[in-house]
Symmetry: C2
Subunit: 182 residues, 2 copies
C-alpha cells in the first residue's frame, strides 16, 4: 500500500521513477542532473547552517559577513549595496544590520562626506567569526569532494561554469531574489 518510502524524502531513484510515471515527456537523465543539483545544494546549505550555528551566528549573518569580507579591506559597504548583493530589500537589510550591530559583528555610522549614506563596517570580531566559519566550511567542502580525482574536479568545475554561463546569459540579473550561499 503506498510508496516505497515513508513520509521522509524519497531516494533520488524513487523520485525520478515517480516523475516518469506522472509526466512522460521528461528525459530521466536531465531530471537526474537537475534533482541531484538541487538536493546537493540543499544538503550543503543545511550543513553550513549547522556550522554557523555552532559559532553563534545565523546563516543570514554569515552572508553579510561574507559580503563585507569579499569586498576587501577596509571591509565597508553601504546598506543598499549589501541589500543588492544579498538579494534582499533595503528594509530587511536595515533590520539585519540592527541585529548585527547589537551583537558587535559590524558597526554602522553615517558617511560624513555625504550624510545621506551610511557605512557598515566589519568589526575585528566579525572578521574573526567569518574566518572560523570559513575554516569549518572549507573542511566540509574538501570532505565532500574527497572521492573525486583531480581530473574529475577539473571536469566538474568546467561543466558547471559552462551551465552557469548559459543561465546567466539567459537571465542577466533581473531581480536576484532568493538569497543563497556561495
Amino acid at each position: 500500500m503506498g510508496d516505497t518510502s515513508g513520509a521522509g524524502e524519497p531516494t533520488l531513484e524513487e523520485q525520478i521513477a515517480a516523475y516518469q510515471r506522472e509526466f512522460q515527456d521528461l528525459d530521466p537523465q536531465v531530471e537526474k542532473i537537475v534533482s541531484a543539483l538541487s538536493r546537493l545544494n540543499r544538503r550543503m546549505n543545511v550543513a553550513y547552517g549547522r556550522q554557523t550555528a555552532e559559532l553563534g551566528i545565523s546563516n543570514a549573518e554569515w552572508e553579510v559577513l561574507k559580503a563585507l569580507v569579499l569586498s576587501g579591506a577596509p571591509y565597508r559597504m553601504g546598506p543598499g549595496d549589501l541589500a543588492k548583493r544579498l538579494g534582499l530589500t533595503p528594509a530587511a537589510m536595515t533590520h539585519r544590520i540592527d541585529r548585527m550591530v547589537s551583537e558587535g559583528l559590524v558597526t554602522r555610522e553615517r558617511d560624513e562626506s555625504n550624510r545621506v549614506r551610511v557605512i557598515v563596517e566589519l568589526t575585528h570580531d566579525g572578521r574573526g567569526k567569518w574566518l572560523e566559519a570559513m575554516r569549518l566550511a572549507s573542511v566540509f567542502e574538501e570532505d565532500l569532494l574527497q572521492d573525486l580525482s583531480p581530473e574529475e574536479r577539473t571536469a566538474l568545475g568546467e561543466v558547471l561554469t559552462r551551465l552557469l554561463r548559459r543561465v546567466e546569459h539567459a537571465q542577466p540579473d533581473a531581480g536576484g531574489r532568493l538569497s543563497d550561499l556561495d
Copy 2:
C-alpha cells in the same frame, strides 16, 4: 576605485579571486565547484519562480503540488507528511493548505476512518497547474543542458549522485529544513 564590479553580484572569477585574497588555505578548484553549484541552483530557482508566477501560483504552492503528484494517485497526503516532505513545520503547512484550499488547488477533509487525521487531496485544477508548470520546467531544463553532449550528461549525473550519496551518508536526514525545489 573600488571593486571591479559595482554593487551587483561579482563574477564567479572575481569572487574566487576574492576568496584567495582573504583566505589563503582554500583550494580554488574546490571553491569553484562549490560556488558554481550554489549559483546555478539559485538561478534555477529564480527561473522556476518566474515560470510558476506566470501560472498564478507561488513557488511554495508548486512544491505542495509536486509532492502530491509524486506521491501517486489518488494524490492524497496528510499535512504532517507533506510538512516532512517539504521540510517545514506542521504549523506552516496548515497555513499553506488554507491558502491552497481557498484557491481550489487542493481539498482538505477529515479521514473518517481515523478522525485525528486529515487528508489533503489534489484537485483536478491543481493537477492541471502542476502539468503546466512541468511543461515549462522541462523546456527550461532541456535548454539549460543543451550544450552538454550525451557523454557529458551521463558523467555529470554520475558525479553529482556520487557527491549526493556522500553528503546524505554524512548527515542522514536530521532536520531537513531549508525547503528547495527538486
